[in-house]
Amino acid sequence: MTRAPNISRQTRSVLAALLAQPQAWRYGYDLSKETGLKSGTLYPLLIRLSDQGLLEAEWRQPLQPGRPPRHAYRLTDKGAALARERVAGEVFASAAPTGARLA
């Protein structure tokens, strides 16, 4: 049985934010506000996820006229599968009762 690679807390947070709306295209600044990650942390994560084929990027026309197109991101099927596995695993782990609670 192969063991999935460890991922950081920040990566899990980004995966959870993207997984919340898996079909929606998300913008960098919005993700930064939602996850609380600074752009200096968020963008290297997004780039890495994209390099690994877990994230796809696309230029989207803005809703407000006069604004430039924005770079938007969403999970690929592979990314969504990993996110489900990792984020669900995290929720399960945090919800599991501890020995102290049982005692």
Partner: protein, 222 residues
């Protein structure tokens, strides 16, 4: 436009300049995001983070390790080159001093020549073939070139230099084996040291070349 906004725009231009070419879309994406942030304060914070992100793409820990390794090999090679150049030049200086001052000069006072006459010392020294000195200077050139190539990240040339060094050193050692033992001629006994240095250079060139290719590829740890 507010000052904070101007600084943010300037920072984003800098981030785009720093970002590697293959990440151009990401830099453009950051600029587009900045245009979507209306408040100057958050725009400035966002732009500063983008500069940091761009530098992270440009300078990875692997690249720093690779550069440190290359410079260490370059320094070691240049020191080895200096040692190889020193010996034949030192011997020439000793011969010149013995010829001019006999055993009364700085060279004649060496423990090496104790109990000898100036003529016998000179005869022993001159029995060392001149082509050996030339080979030592050639090896000095090889090590100096290897240091230069390592510093500049030219790993294929580093491999070639180490290969040339092996050929020169082997020819020199085989030729000297016929003259061995000879007074003051220590080369055959120390030949393994140069083989070790050249083998390390070959290994370093191969390792650096592989690491360089790997570091230029995609990072895998999320």
């Amino acid at each position: 436009m507010s000052l904070a906004r101007q600084i943010a725009e300037h920072l984003l231009r800098h981030a785009a300049a720093v970002m590697p070419g293959r990440r151009r879309d990401w830099a453009l994406g950051m600029r587009a995001e900045l245009a979507a942030i209306d408040a100057p304060g958050p725009a400035l914070t966002f732009a500063a983070g983008c500069v940091w992100a761009a530098y992270q793409q440009r300078i990875s820990p692997m690249r720093i390790a690779l550069l440190t390794g290359r410079l260490a090999v370059a320094v070691a090679s240049l020191l080895t080159a200096a040692a190889h150049a020193f010996m034949p030049l030192y011997m020439l200086a000793v011969v010149a001093d013995l010829k001019r001052h006999g055993l009364d000069g700085w060279a004649g006072s060496a423990r090496l020549f104790r109990g000898q006459t100036a003529d016998s010392a000179l005869a022993d020294l001159l029995s060392i073939p001149a082509w050996h000195g030339a080979a030592m200077l050639g090896l000095a050139g090889v090590f100096a070139a290897a240091g230069w190539f390592a510093a500049r990240g030219q790993f294929r040339r580093l491999l070639v230099a180490a290969g040339v060094g092996l050929a020169v050193h082997t020819a020199n050692t085989l030729a000297l084996a016929a003259a061995w033992p000879s007074p003051y001629l220590v080369h055959p006994a120390m030949a393994w040291l140069d083989y070790l240095a050249l083998a390390l250079l070959l290994a370093a060139a191969g390792a650096f070349r592989s690491l360089d290719r790997w570091a230029a590829g995609t990072p895998t740890a999320a």
